[in-house]
């Protein structure tokens, strides 16, 4: 077990400590405890499975925020080759919360746009905790144009608590920067894949998240508001964040159900931070498979499907309305159009 266990992992930690005691005892006194050791190891395996298979939404949020989790640049280093970072939006500055540039995925030239968090204070000051300013989104747009010009697919790696709420952000119109990206990504004339690798924080995540395929890592989350902020608004108290996380339906599984994401990328047991090699290999495989499928399709068709995918999101009733007070759900209309089973 690593040095930074989460609260809900404590039972595993306790069992591992007892196993170690047992082994030490066995060595010291040259006694045969093999069957006990084996039983203990089984118990640890079972406890782990029990815990990791039944993670609550809030526990997943904690995994998604784990400081040892692979960040965007870790994926770039392991899934891609020939990475060249391109700096700046050519208007105001370079947003270090969004390192972006050119990279090769196998033999495919790509434009990669990311959010990057830091592991220590110094790095976090540089990366602004993964919270981008308007410059970041405008740099992303500049690189998308570059991708369009040279016929390269665009891959976004999303990992942000949200766009930065600051004075400079507002003065330089963070909302406009995000809005323009939403519109332009819908019309992008190259294939695109977006992956939520950790935190998918609201508009800041969506600002690079409109794509032909939207993937999410098993323990990542994607939410309209942080569980803490939601709790503060609905319960007038931040301590209800676990309930808020549950209610917001922000886990990968929930989002597949809502049609917001297309595919879940599996993580190593216990979370991506436990095995960077396996986590990055999984993402690499998913990216290559999706990219191959996308580039095999004519761009006009992709753009049409992309539009329809986002167009049909939303749940409401329409037509004959049940009388006031009657349950609304009975006439749910989910705009499920002719399903395009491109997957």
């Amino acid at each position: 077990m690593d040095s930074q266990p989460l609260d809900f992992e404590k039972p595993i930690l306790e069992l591992q400590r007892r196993l170690q005691d047992l082994k030490n005892h066995s060595n010291e006194h040259e006694l045969d405890f093999d069957s006990e050791v084996e039983a203990m190891e089984n118990k640890i395996r079972e406890t782990r499975r029990e815990i990791y298979e039944h993670l609550t939404a809030w526990q997943r949020v904690q995994l998604a925020r784990h400081i040892q989790r692979p960040f965007a640049l870790d994926y770039i280093a392991r899934c891609f080759t020939e990475w060249v970072e391109l700096h700046g939006d050519r208007v105001f500055g370079d947003d270090k919360a969004m390192p972006s540039g050119l990279a090769k995925l196998g033999s495919h030239r790509c434009v990669v746009i990311t959010h990057q968090k830091g592991r220590d204070t110094k790095e976090n000051v540089k990366r602004n905790f993964g919270c981008a300013h308007p410059e970041g989104y405008r740099k992303a747009l500049r690189l998308m144009r570059l991708a369009e010009k040279f016929g390269m697919p665009v891959i976004s790696l999303i990992d942000t608590p949200g766009a930065f709420p600051g004075i400079g952000s507002e003065e330089r119109h963070i909302s406009e920067a995000i809005a323009v990206n939403l519109r332009e990504m819908m019309n992008l004339r190259v294939p695109s894949i977006a992956v939520v690798i950790g935190e998918g924080g609201s508009g800041g995540a969506l600002g690079i998240g409109v794509a032909d395929r939207v993937l999410i890592l098993e323990n990542a989350y994607y939410s309209v508001i942080s569980p803490e902020a939601c709790s503060a608004i609905l319960w007038k108290d931040r301590r209800h964040a676990p309930e808020a996380a549950e209610a917001l339906k922000l886990t990968a599984q929930d989002l597949i159900g809502l049609g917001v994401v297309d595919e879940i990328v599996p993580e190593p047991e216990g979370g991506a931070h436990r095995d960077h090699d396996l986590a990055t290999a999984n993402l690499g495989t998913a990216l290559r498979q999706n990219l191959e499928r996308l580039i095999a399709q004519p761009i006009g068709e992709l753009m049409q499907k992309r539009y329809e995918k986002f167009r049909k999101l939303g749940k409401f009733t329409e037509g004959d309305i049940a009388p006031e007070g009657a349950p609304l759900q009975e006439t749910i209309h989910s705009r499920e159009q002719t399903s395009d089973k491109s997957a």
């Binding site: 709420p165 004075i167 909302s175 519109r183 609201s202 922000l250």
Partner: protein, 281 residues
């Protein structure tokens, strides 16, 4: 023990003069008391200081469009509690409460009509309904308004006011940002005009999608417009916010807004824009 007992200070309970509710309003701009009839006759603008009071979507449509020209569309769409949200109050209860309170079915009225002879697809948000947050119904009505504009080759006017995304609908509400912006992309490809009108307040998810995408963006005076709330910014940055931060005037100064337009001149101004942008034939 004190020798002298301090006399208990009591504020004299001067009897407050009871005002019949709803007849008089204190103007937040000049603190003068304005009569309701006066406000109603003046498009809810203070006759003394020009403060723009909140206006209902219905009133706005009456003032903006040619008389009798408005045709409402998609009025039968209703929000549903897909996430079964359980907070202090359920989403369903809130919807019912605001439907009864406002007489609206959701936070936007949409359809088409004429402005000085120009056909427009129009959507007007109403802040009095759940802070005009954008859920599936708001997103769908706006998107259909835009698509109507594209299909009928007419201009779009969207009058925005919003507290942002509708948390109760989780990610489906966030996705309305992509949906509406995507529809605008198609409208723009057809070289059709879109006039975005910002009113007090327009923030967060709505500001970070269709409200920011107008060919021209105009705002009512002193409207609060921004992405994050001022309290959040203050808590995050521990900085004092500049004078007039996040007002329409501030945003005009910083280059986002094309013009600040007085409510009583709004119809004429939109019509002038349409005359510039619509003369294609």
């Amino acid at each position: 023990m004190a020798i002298f007992k301090r006399p208990a200070l009591k504020t004299q309970s001067r009897k407050k003069r009871e005002m019949p509710q709803g007849l008089w309003q204190k103007c937040p701009g000049c603190s003068e008391v304005v009569h309701e009839i006066e406000l109603a006759q003046n498009q809810r603008v203070c006759p003394r200081c020009d403060y723009h009071f909140a206006q209902s979507a219905k009133e706005r449509i009456e003032n903006l469009l040619d008389p009798e020209s408005f045709v409402e569309r998609d009025a039968d769409l209703r929000s549903v509690d897909t996430l079964q949200f359980q907070g202090m109050a359920t989403y369903k209860d809130r919807l019912l409460k605001y439907q009864n309170l406002t007489g609206l079915t959701d936070a936007v009225l949409s359809g088409h009509g004429m402005i000085e002879g120009y056909k427009v697809a129009i959507a007007v948000m109403d802040f009095s309904f759940l802070a005009a947050t954008m859920g599936s119904v708001v997103g769908e009505r706006i998107t259909r308004t835009i698509e109507y504009g594209t299909a009928n080759r007419c201009a779009i006017v969207i009058v925005s006011a919003s507290g942002g995304a509708r948390m109760y609908e989780g990610m489906l509400s966030l996705m309305q940002m992509a949906k509406t912006s995507g529809a605008l992309a198609r409208h723009a490809c057809e070289r059709l005009p879109y006039i975005s009108v910002l009113t007090n307040p327009t923030t967060a998810g709505v500001m970070a999608s269709f409200a920011s995408l107008g060919d021209v963006i105009i705002a009512e005076p002193k409207s609060m417009i921004g992405f994050a709330g001022p309290r959040v910014i203050k808590e995050t940055t521990h900085q004092d916010l500049p004078e007039g931060f996040q007002t329409a005037e501030f945003l005009e100064e910083h280059g986002l807004i094309d013009a600040i337009v007085h409510r009583k001149k709004m119809r004429a101004q939109i019509s002038q824009f349409l005359s510039y942008f619509s003369s294609t034939s």
